[in-house]
């Protein structure tokens, strides 16, 4: 366990950890939405986080605590009213629609548990994001490879409506992964899964992220879905807390317990 003297030094390391190679940064970002004429809802309150390249960070939160807003801001869909969201050091709110669109088609993928409007075969849904950039043959081949990698190729030709929950999760992940993104944003995708499926899909995502050096920011309401993530932040009322990285051997850092017990 870290002693009293170890805590400030450890905290110092964290600052370096975050600043060293952040792919995505929130810098004191606040986001509000109007509700009626007189009220505003505080969706994000002074949020700061650094997501390193290749890092997997889960954000654990209950319902309506700002999970989706956080991810939408990370994708540049929603712009903070104060503070910044930086991707590779570039302020997302300053990008033109075209620049943002370019990022979203090639570097940042956002997946959420919303089924498609059209009940097409899975392979078509997965290939869809590529059709604007690649030939149909190449797009479908890449979609097939992605599904195979996830162990989901056996139902490539099935229609979406016929899929089980865990199969839909894999197909949705495939829609994001097929773009070979550097940053994958996953919005509470595993909430409907049982124990074994959560473990398997979490592990699979971890393996792919490590192999591709892909960063993942995932919101979830289920702690079990965080098992294969490097860090677990918590979000409530728009306020985010990001713990420092755990020591590799899993030793517990007792945060306030060894500080002097004085007012």
């Amino acid at each position: 366990m870290a002693g009293l003297s170890g805590w400030p030094a450890f905290a110092g390391c964290l600052i370096l950890y975050g600043a060293m190679d952040a792919l995505l940064s929130f810098q004191n970002a606040s986001l509000t939405f109007p509700r009626g004429h007189r009220h505003v809802v505080r969706a994000l309150a002074d949020v700061s986080l650094d997501l390193a390249r290749g890092e997997l960070m889960a954000v654990l939160a209950g319902r309506a605590q700002g999970k989706t807003t956080l991810l939408r801001a990370a994708a540049g869909f929603d712009k903070p009213v104060r503070g910044k969201v930086l991707y590779k050091g570039r302020d997302l709110s300053r990008l033109s629609d075209r620049q943002l669109s370019g990022l979203l088609s090639k570097q940042i993928a956002f997946v959420e548990p919303i089924g498609p409007d059209l009940d097409l075969p899975v392979i078509s849904h997965v290939a869809l994001p590529l059709l604007a950039m690649l030939s149909e043959n190449v797009a479908y081949e890449r979609a097939n490879t992605t599904l195979r990698r996830l162990g989901a190729d056996e139902y490539a030709d099935q229609r979406w409506s016929s899929l089980a929950d865990s199969e839909r999760v894999l197909a949705t992940l495939a829609q994001g992964l097929v773009r070979e993104p550097e940053l994958l944003l996953v919005d509470d995708l595993m909430a409907t899964l049982g124990m074994g499926a959560t473990e398997q899909i979490g592990r699979l995502l971890h393996t792919i992220a490590r192999e591709e050096e892909m960063s993942v920011l995932m919101s979830t309401s289920d702690a079990e879905a965080t098992t294969w993530f490097d860090r677990v932040a918590t979000l409530a009322g728009g306020e985010l807390y990001v713990p420092p990285p755990s020591e590799p051997d899993g030793n517990v850092i007792d945060f306030p317990s060894d500080q002097p017990r004085s007012a």
């Binding site: 079990e224 490097d230 713990p243 420092p244 899993g250 017990r261 007012a263």
Partner: protein, 206 residues
């Protein structure tokens, strides 16, 4: 993993001091008030008497009038009926405890006790304490994940023990999840209460 909460005995003295700060009491009354206010913690009956003895030796409480002619209720000894009040050192000790960080996660009992005894002006500090508790619990969940990853990478996932490990770890994760979510709700509630108090919406605060 340090799942067991801080034993009540470790801060029982502070709880007794807090109750005496609110209202002078004898040990039999304190036992009853402990049961009313902290029933779920399960303080042992008779705990107040032992604690008062310890606090008196430490100069943190004193009998209001040990020589007074007290008529105890039926079934209560004269010693149990003697009223106690906190000394100035006792009040100072209690205030210091109220504002200090929680000693160890998962902080349930100690945090409950502080919130139960806090006054409106203590709320900003309580909010900070809850934030610290969230930080501790989130750190523990993350540590658990790192340990779990290391263990599962070493093990054959098809082995029976690995299959059962998913259940055991899932139980621990669910425990931290519920703690984190509860603490977050407490923080938001306290923030609302503090805003309402500042706006003068609470007419009765005692």
């Amino acid at each position: 993993m340090g799942r067991t909460a801080t034993a009540p005995g470790q801060f029982g003295g502070e709880v007794i001091l807090g109750l005496l700060t609110e209202e002078l009491s004898g040990s039999y009354q304190l036992d009853r008030r402990l049961a009313e206010r902290f029933g779920s913690v399960g303080y042992a009956n008779g705990m107040a008497k032992q604690t008062l003895k310890r606090l008196r030796e430490a100069g943190l409480v004193r009998p209001v009038d040990a020589e007074a002619d007290v008529t105890p209720p039926p079934g209560v000894s004269r010693a149990e009926a003697i009223m106690y009040e906190p000394t100035s050192a006792g009040i100072k000790h209690f205030r210091r405890w109220m504002w200090a960080s929680i000693t160890a996660p998962p902080v349930r009992e100690e945090l409950h006790a502080k919130i139960a005894l806090c006054q409106p002006n203590d709320m900003p500090r309580m909010i900070t304490l809850v934030r610290e508790a969230v930080a501790v619990c989130a750190g523990r969940l993350q540590d658990l994940n790192v340990e779990t990853q290391a263990r599962r990478k070493r093990a054959d996932p098809e082995r029976w023990s690995s299959r059962m490990d998913v259940i055991v770890t899932g139980g621990d994760q669910a425990w931290w999840e519920s703690r984190i979510k509860w603490l977050q709700r407490v923080r938001i509630y306290l923030e609302q209460e503090w805003r309402a108090y500042q706006a003068g919406l609470h007419s009765q605060v005692a």
